[in-house]
Symmetry: C2
Subunit: 224 residues, 2 copies
């Protein structure tokens, strides 16, 4: 599973290096190439990993608190990558005087990031909140987490579609190697997302509540 | 809920009539305009409705068999619409000598339809199959049904993105009324799909097994 996730991330990086001139941080159109790599890594790969940490059976005998920290850590890195991913695309647009947020991809994408950030912020505050509040909000947290993954898949596929049409134009229909590669990458991202959602939907793969929710330790306090 | 679904379908139809020259059956590029209307109606609206028929509380005191027929009927109409939706796009491509199945939208879309048809065929055969086989396959049926809805949302948004870029080109970034309308339609479709998936994820909204799965009546036999 992990090899597959890293594979997907590496594949996107490889694609941008091979056909789109590689990467640059500021002052170059190559800055854009960071956008798909950062967004897919943050919102699909890390978010998908974070959602699955409670579903790995060998961890069930270990302390839940440890895996809460892993979950929070992965989400935090995902959050940072999504901030950077948005920064580079806005900076790239500004540099070339392109309009921000006009396409359907950008509309769905900005909603995805907004919900991801809100859930991340709320999740960060959860460990400090009263037990009854946390247990009531847990189903919402899980449900919104799944919705973010679905929105991320939609954003990825529409983003790849948009980019391919912009850079390949008419020759896209003859399926050059870059087109085939990006289409396969899109299918890989969708398959990964569906596998994660499939695993999450299995009730008997849920972590048994051995530690008990009553252990009330602030993740914020530990992290700081 | 139902008004919203019909609203989404009607909105798509209205959009195609207003900006894309309306509809035609064969021998005209207007044939393409049926494609989004038929696919969204079949794979999102009807499939979404069909998935929800067991979650409507007032039906829980009625015979399950009746609602199995409603479920099967909606799926059947969805299946017919998806066949027509694929037919018109292939016919349109053939008429203009355009390449079939090159884009990521078409790759995801054809996978969605294939899984929808396979599940539809399998679902049609379920009522004739032994009880133990059906009860074992039910979780798979439910899980694949949700995956089809997610794939449909991805296909819709990538399809709208592709179409808008092809027909609007550069002026899309100035967000003309058609662009805004289609973007909102995309968000409406995604919201509808997420609401359906949210309802399906709530265990306490599942229909109680009052009739019992043991009533072994063939839907196929009743329909024929």
């Amino acid at each position: 599973m992990h090899q597959r996730k890293i594979g997907g991330k590496a594949t996107g990086h490889f694609g941008a290096s091979l056909w789109r001139g590689g990467f640059s941080w500021t002052g170059s159109p190559l800055e854009f190439n960071w956008h798909p790599v950062l967004m897919v890594s943050g919102l699909v790969v890390l978010h998908g990993n974070a959602a699955l940490v409670y579903r790995v059976p060998f961890t069930w005998r270990q302390r839940k608190q440890t895996w809460k920290l892993v979950h929070a850590g992965l989400m935090l890195v995902g959050f940072i990558l999504s901030v950077l991913g948005l920064y580079v695309v806005f900076d790239y647009h500004r540099g070339l005087n392109l309009t921000h947020l006009y396409s359907l991809h950008s509309w769905v994408g900005i909603c995805t990031v907004a919900v991801f950030w809100i859930l991340g912020l709320a999740g960060f505050l959860f460990p400090c909140s009263p037990l009854c509040f946390r247990s009531n909000l847990k189903p919402v947290h899980v449900c919104v987490g799944k919705a973010i993954l679905i929105l991320s898949l939609i954003s990825c596929v529409s983003g790849i579609t948009e980019k391919l049409q912009l850079v390949l134009g008419e020759p896209y229909s003859s399926l050059p190697v870059e087109g085939k590669f990006a289409n396969f990458l899109g299918l890989l991202i969708v398959s990964f997302g569906l596998v994660v959602l499939g695993i999450l939907s299995k009730d008997n793969w849920q972590r048994p509540e051995t530690d008990g929710e009553a252990i009330h330790v602030s993740v914020a306090a530990i992290l700081l």
